[in-house]
Every structure is written in structure tokens, then in C-alpha cells.
Amino acid sequence: MKENYTGTPANRVDGRAKVTGEAKYAAEFEVPGLLYGVVVNSAIAKGKIKHMDTSAALQLPGVHQVFTHENRPGYSWFDKHHQDEDAPPGSPFRPLGSNEIKFSMQPIALVVADTYELARYAALLVHVEYEAQPHETDLEANLPRAYKPKKYKSPPPSDPRGDAAGAFDKAEVKLEQAYAHPAHHHNPMEMHASIAIWKEGGKLTVYDKIQGVQNSQQYISNAFGIPKENVQVISPFVGGAFGSGLRPQYQLFLAVLAALELKRAVKVVLTRQQMFSFGHRPHTVQRLAIGASPDGKLQSITHNAIAETSRFEDYNEDVVIWPGVLYDCDNVEVSHQLVDLDVYTPLDMRAPGGTTGTFALECAIDEMAFQIGMDPLEFRLKNYTEKDLNEDKPHSSKELKECYRQGAEKFGWANRKMEPRSMKEGHQLIGWGVAHGAWEAQQQEASAKAVLSPNGKLTVSSATADIGTGTYTVMTQIAAEVMGLPLEDVTFELGDSTMPKSPLEGGSWTVSSVGSAVKLVCEKLQEQLLKMAQKMKNSPFSEAKLADVSFANKQMFLTHAPATSISLQAILDQNEGKPLEAEASQKPDSKQKKYSSYSHSATFVEVQVDEELGTVKVTRIVTAVAAGRIINPKTGRSQILGGSVWGIGVALEEHTVLDHNLGRFMTHDLDKYHLPVSADVHETDVIFVEEKDEIVNPLGAKGLGEIGIVSVAPAICNAVFHATGKRIRELPITLDKLL
């Protein structure tokens, strides 16, 4: 009788808006009298602006103003007023703050004009004279300067367990290698954009590309000293972000600055080139030292990471937590150090730290298995850990072994030949590789509001975002299931800072956090409905408690006697034409603290490497994922497929190349920054392994945004080794490295 919407594939509820062009992204709102702002960026990486001549731009009819450090209005100078929800420790960059240049492509002016074309032209006329100073942008050349940050952004690396160095010395089989992961840029298809609309009385309405409207709202309020209630930030659709929208970016600051000063509406859209002028996945070098017994038992793991950061903030991510999460080993030592360079601060990018750290660890493990002469999957099984050894806690659930089993079976792993270069077809070397990964399942506090209208339509809202992850759809499913309403009677709203408080959409925690709040707020409505039904004449529910009733097919009924039922409409009719409303906040349950919660994945990959040309084609990917309950297997599968595509990019294509002579990212467009396209993506299978988890959160769902990427790149690297016998330890694996 009960309709289960969660766990059932459902089309996206915002699908129609997206395929007709009706979905409005930040830059697309029609605003009367809108002005256009175009940003001028620094040509040097370090130094000072000696002189700026904006006269040629300003004399063009239709150019309203050129904002620079010389004429900008005042704003708060305190660091804390510029730190947003995702800010790492340090002193955040302030656009147009002074004449000091801290990184190449730093925004140094905003030209505001009547049309986009005019603003773009006028921006070319801004003449800048610089006093350049020597810059440092080369991580590898500056490794001796590596330091332990005073404060880590994410939890600091775990304390050592056992004696890693001693055990390594004694180990019979040893591996010591360095692995390099280059800088990457998020490159969502929608460029960052903001429209700031000044209104009488100094109020602002802002459309922003952001993964959390309340983060932008708080940031604007703090930086410009405007009361929060006077700033409304709206963002109903986000054209991808992958972390780039966790922090408010400089186009928001500049649009707001110009709107306040000109008392107008101003739109600032970054160019694709400017999408390379803020946060990125940091270039990171890692050293792994692994000791094992000849029968394949891990005895020692040392995992050291050194990553770039900016001169003004200490960014770090979870690069070195993975040995303790993934392997049973008594002697482990990890460290994470930083080198500050003349670049912009790195920024969380899809599975931050997980992508980087798992690549190195899983390649090193593969190398160790090969050295010992063991099947790499068997090696992982031999060193399997039931516990999270970083925290010394049991997992709330962990079906990784089932991922191995189902993935291997689907892939046909049993037919793999051990020897590299042993599976050739004509000129094509065939390689099979495996890797596994994990991603933490976290729950944050979140709130939601529910309104059940007199005609039985439900609207639930929370100030979260849908960056393509399916938030609109899964929240609708959760609410519909709890209330026993059909999907079409439920609307979920998001992306407005006036809505109930939500954390940033990131960290794969939205279903867990916002979804749990949606469930709770609907349960509050259930309580109200039951109470109202009990007040009705001769109510058969008079003795019932909430636990005794169920909701399905627009009805409430006694669970043990379903024939005793009442339609929700009949209850609502008692409310004199008024809607029922509820608001709820859901916090993580304290019992979660006794457990670690991670989603897990195992990825099996087949590659073909052309023996003569060195070209790599990923012909098959099978990823098996254990992530608790899958709310929507259709959109969930899409997330894992997307993660696989990202894995291909990480392993074979993506690399933002820094020219150290200019201190500038040179591959700053979609021609030179290579992303996977249709032709790069072949057979890809996703398996969701059943995993029950009653601890992780009230929904039992762990989140899917990040787990899909982590194990793919190392599995490809390991497959390339199996195909060619060449171990490439510096990503991406381009053909020049294989020849």
C-alpha cells in the first residue's frame, strides 16, 4: 500500500525547465536598466600597480565608471569580515584592496557600461603600468620551504601509529616513490556570474552562482557592512560548480561594490579565461614509503604530502587520511605540509584531497602488490580493515568487500593475467587495473520549512543548492514519501537566502543534512495532521500515536488496520482554508560520534594503449559503490557516471600548466585545458551495492557527489601500467610519457 519514492528511479523534477531553456542561471535574469561590468586582470604575478590610466575608457559614451583601488568605495578591512563559510585560515583576498599584486590575473579594475560589448571594449583601453617583483610559483623548486601550517583547514593529519620508520627498515619488501598531481581548475560549464540590484533604502537583491546562498549573503553583509536582512541572494539553478562555488568569488564582490556605488543594477560575468583566476585543486607532491612481508601483509606506510597554497591563506585538504581509512597496518605516519606561492588560494574541488591522495596511495599499493607478485585485488583483501584506524572507530557500515566481489564479477577480473604487456591485441596493449576509495559521509545541521496548502499541495523549502546533483528531485521524493503524496503534488524550493538555514552544498552531505531536515519537517506535519484528525467527531484515530499511523495515497491510516483511514484532504478541510506549516532543524545524532561513516567504491578499468603512438583509450569502467541507501538510483547513477568521466580527466587529460617565467596559468581556456568529451568515454557500468546503515543519518544515505571520482583515476593508472609495464607517477598520463 505504501508508495516508496525513495530508492526508486525518478526523472528529475526540474528536467523540463532544463531541456526547454526555462531554467534561469545567475546571469540570466532580466533586470530593467541593467549595467554590465567587465573585469580587468593583472598581467603580472607579483608587484605593484604604479599607475592606472582609465581616461580613454571613461570618455566613451555609455561607460559609467571604472572602479580601481584608487577610487573604490570603502569596505571593511577586518579579515573576519571577508572570511566566508569555506575560507581557510588566513587573510582573504580583497578585490581592489590596494595597488599590491599578489597573483597573476588578479582583478584590478571593473569597467561598468551600458552594454556588454562596450564594457568589454572599454576594459581593453585601461592602461596599467606595473612595478614587477620576482615571483615564486614553482612548487617543486620551493619544496625546501615547506611548512606545517599553524592551523589546518580540515582536521590536522593523524598522530603516528606504531613505528613507521622502524617497521619500514625491517620490512623485507619495500617501496619508496614520489607521485605528482598537477593543479586542476573546476571549469563548470557556467562561468561565475552575479547580478547585484541596488534598491531604494540601500537594499540589495543579488543573483549569484554559488553553492550556498546564505554564504554569499553573510559575506556581502560582513564585507560591506549591510545588515543581513537587507541582502537577499537568489540562485535557483547552478550550472555546475564542483567546489568553485563554495566560496563567493570576486565577481560577486565587484558587482555588489558597483551596484552600491552607482545605485544601479550591475551584472558581472567572468570569461572562461577568468575562470582560471581564482581557486583550483592544488599542485601536490606526495612521497609514499611502504613496507610489507613477502606474503603481502602491510607492515608500514608513510604518506607525506606537500601542496601549494597562496601567500595569504593556508589551504589544505584530506590528502593523507586514506591509509588509515583503507588499510590495516600497524605502523603508519602521515604529514601534510604547505608551500606558499604567488598564486591564488587553492579551493576544494570535487573530492578534495580524496582525488589527490587516493591516486598516490592506490598506485603505490598496486606497485607493492606487483613487487610481491600478488593479484592487486587479493592484496587489498589481505590488508582489509574493518575499522577506521585514524579514529580507532568501527564503521557505521562498510560493504567494500561486496564492491570488490560484484565489481570483479561484472568486469571479469578473474581472467586477468598478472604479467604486464601480456594481454595484447594487434598494436593495442590491453591493461586491467583496480583501485578502491572512500569518502566521508557527514551530516551537518540543516533546516527546512513545509507548507501544506488547503488543497493538499505540499511545498518544502531550504536554502540549499542544486548544482546538478539532483537536490530538487531527491528532496521531492523524500517529502512525498513521508507525506504519502504523489510526486506531482510536492514542490521543493531552494536557492533563496530567506529560506531556512542550510549548509553549503558540498562534501556529499546534502541528502544527509537537508534530506534529514526535510524528513523531520514532514514528520512534524504528520503530527499536526494526526492531532487534527483526532479532534474530528468519532475519530477512529483518537487513541493513535504517530508511530501507529502511516501516510500513503493522500491518506492517513492505522498501520495495523489500513482499512481505518482518512484522506488528508478531509483533515485539511477542518483547517478553515488555512495551510498547515512546520519548520524543523535536524542536527547529527550524538550516537554517530561512536562510529566512522564513509561511502566506499571499487573501480575496475580496461585500457587500450597503442604500442606505437602511446595513446590511451579507456575502453571499460566498472565502478561498484556502497553508499548506504540510494534515494534516486537514476540521478545517483548519473553522479557516479560523471565521477568516472572526471576520473578519466584526472588520469589522462587535465593539467593547468603554470608558466613559471610569467607566474601565470597558461592553459586557461577549454582548448588547452583538456576535459573529457564524448569520444573519450566508452563502456561504463555502475553497481550500487546494498548497504544498510541506521547510524549515519535518519535516511541511511551516505551521499554520492564525490565517491564516484576517487578510485577511477588510480584504477586507470594501474591499468596503464598493466598494459605497458611503465609506471607513470606524474599526472596526467599523456602519450609523451609512455613513448
Binding site: 526523472n11 528529475r12 526540474d14 528536467g15 523540463r16 525547465a17 532544463k18 531541456v19 526547454t20 531553456g21 526555462e22 534561469k24 542561471y25 546571469a27 540570466e28 532580466e30 580587468v40 586582470n41 593583472s42 598581467a43 580613454a56 566613451l60 552594454t115 556588454y116 560589448e117 562596450l118 571594449y121 581593453l124 583601453l125 592602461h127 596599467v128 603600468e129 606595473y130 571549469n187 563548470p188 560549464m189 557556467e190 539553478f237 547552478v238 550550472g239 555546475g240 560575468v269 570569461t271 572562461r272 546538478g468 546533483t469 547513477r637 548519473s638 560523471g642 568521466v645 572526471w646 581556456d669 577549454l670 582548448d671 576535459l675 568529451v677 564524448s678 569520444a679 568515454v681 561504463t684
Partner: protein, 175 residues
């Protein structure tokens, strides 16, 4: 050192602006007269002057395909062509595909196959699938993958997009 602003050297102290002119564009069966600067791209004319924001800007350099529209039934990157060059042509954007509220079969297939996530590249992908069918060059699965490779999807929905394209080719659902 002034690499970003090298135009300065060749620009007169008092730069002249080109005059705007009347441009007649036929979009989704409707004729529009616009007063545009001659350097306005079809993409900006659509988005900023006609408020047809279904066509997306992803790079403005012809590198991503988000701005794909159909010009007399064939695919074109609308960021790489000027509005003044496309008078008297039939431009079809994503807004012009559904007829009387009924989605074009390719639009419906995008929903049914979940061939998108964030949706930003989607209008371009949809126009590209329809254009690919119209152009008649795709014969095999690998052809489809190649001929759809001008449309980047950063969410990585390619597996499902290619499935839609295969289905569209089989059913010949062009314009």
C-alpha cells in the same frame, strides 16, 4: 610589462565607437528587429538583447558547444558568428523546439535518459543531437561519439547523451 592591454598601443587617444545598426534576425519563426553594435555575436544578441537565455555561454570562443543553435537546421556555435552576418537565416534555439507545449522527442529523451545534471550544456547538447541527425553524417556509435564531441559536459553525462543521440538517429528525430 603590459601584455594584457596591448591594444592600447594601436588605439587612438580618443577611440571611436562603431555605430549601431538595425539587424533583422529570424529566431524560432519570429522576426526581430534589433539595434545592435556590429560586433555583437548571435549568442549575445539572443541572450542579452532578446532575453532568449536558453542558449548558453560557456566559453565565448567556440571551444565548448554550450551556445550551439541550429542555423537553417545545421549546428553552429552562436558565439563565433556575428548577428549582422545572419540576417535572413532561420535560427532555431532550444526555446523553439517544443511545439504547443509538447517537447521535441530529443528533449523528452534527455529527461528520460537523465542525460544531464546541472543542465547548463543541455540546450546546446539538444540542438547538437538534432543537428547531427539533420546533417546525416553519423552512421556508427563511434561516429556519434566523435560528432557530439564539440559539446562539453563537465558533469560528465556523456554515456546518457550518446544514448539519446543513438535513439534520435534510429528514429530520425531531426527538426
Amino acid at each position: 610589462m603590459n601584455t594584457e592591454n596591448s591594444l592600447q598601443a594601436t588605439t587612438a587617444v580618443r577611440p571611436q565607437l562603431p555605430d549601431t545598426r538595425t539587424v533583422t534576425l529570424r529566431v524560432n519563426g519570429t522576426t526581430h528587429q534589433l539595434q545592435l553594435a556590429p560586433w555583437t555575436s548571435v549568442l549575445d544578441a539572443l541572450r542579452e538583447h532578446l532575453q532568449l537565455t536558453g542558449t548558453k555561454k560557456g566559453c565565448d570562443h567556440g571551444q565548448c558547444g554550450a551556445c550551439t543553435v541550429l542555423l537553417d537546421g545545421k549546428r553552429i556555435n552562436s558565439c563565433l558568428t556575428l548577428a549582422v552576418m545572419q540576417e535572413n537565416k532561420e535560427i532555431t534555439t532550444v526555446e523553439g523546439l517544443a511545439k504547443e507545449g509538447e517537447l521535441h522527442p530529443v528533449q523528452q529523451a534527455f529527461i528520460d535518459h537523465d542525460a544531464f545534471q546541472c543542465g547548463y550544456c543541455t540546450p546546446g547538447q539538444i540542438c547538437s543531437v538534432i543537428g547531427m541527425v539533420n546533417e546525416g553524417k553519423a552512421k556508427t556509435l563511434d561516429d556519434i561519439r566523435d560528432l557530439m564531441s564539440g559539446n562539453i559536459c563537465r558533469c560528465g553525462a556523456y554515456i546518457n547523451i550518446v544514448k539519446v543521440a543513438q535513439e534520435a538517429l534510429e528514429k530520425n528525430t531531426g527538426l
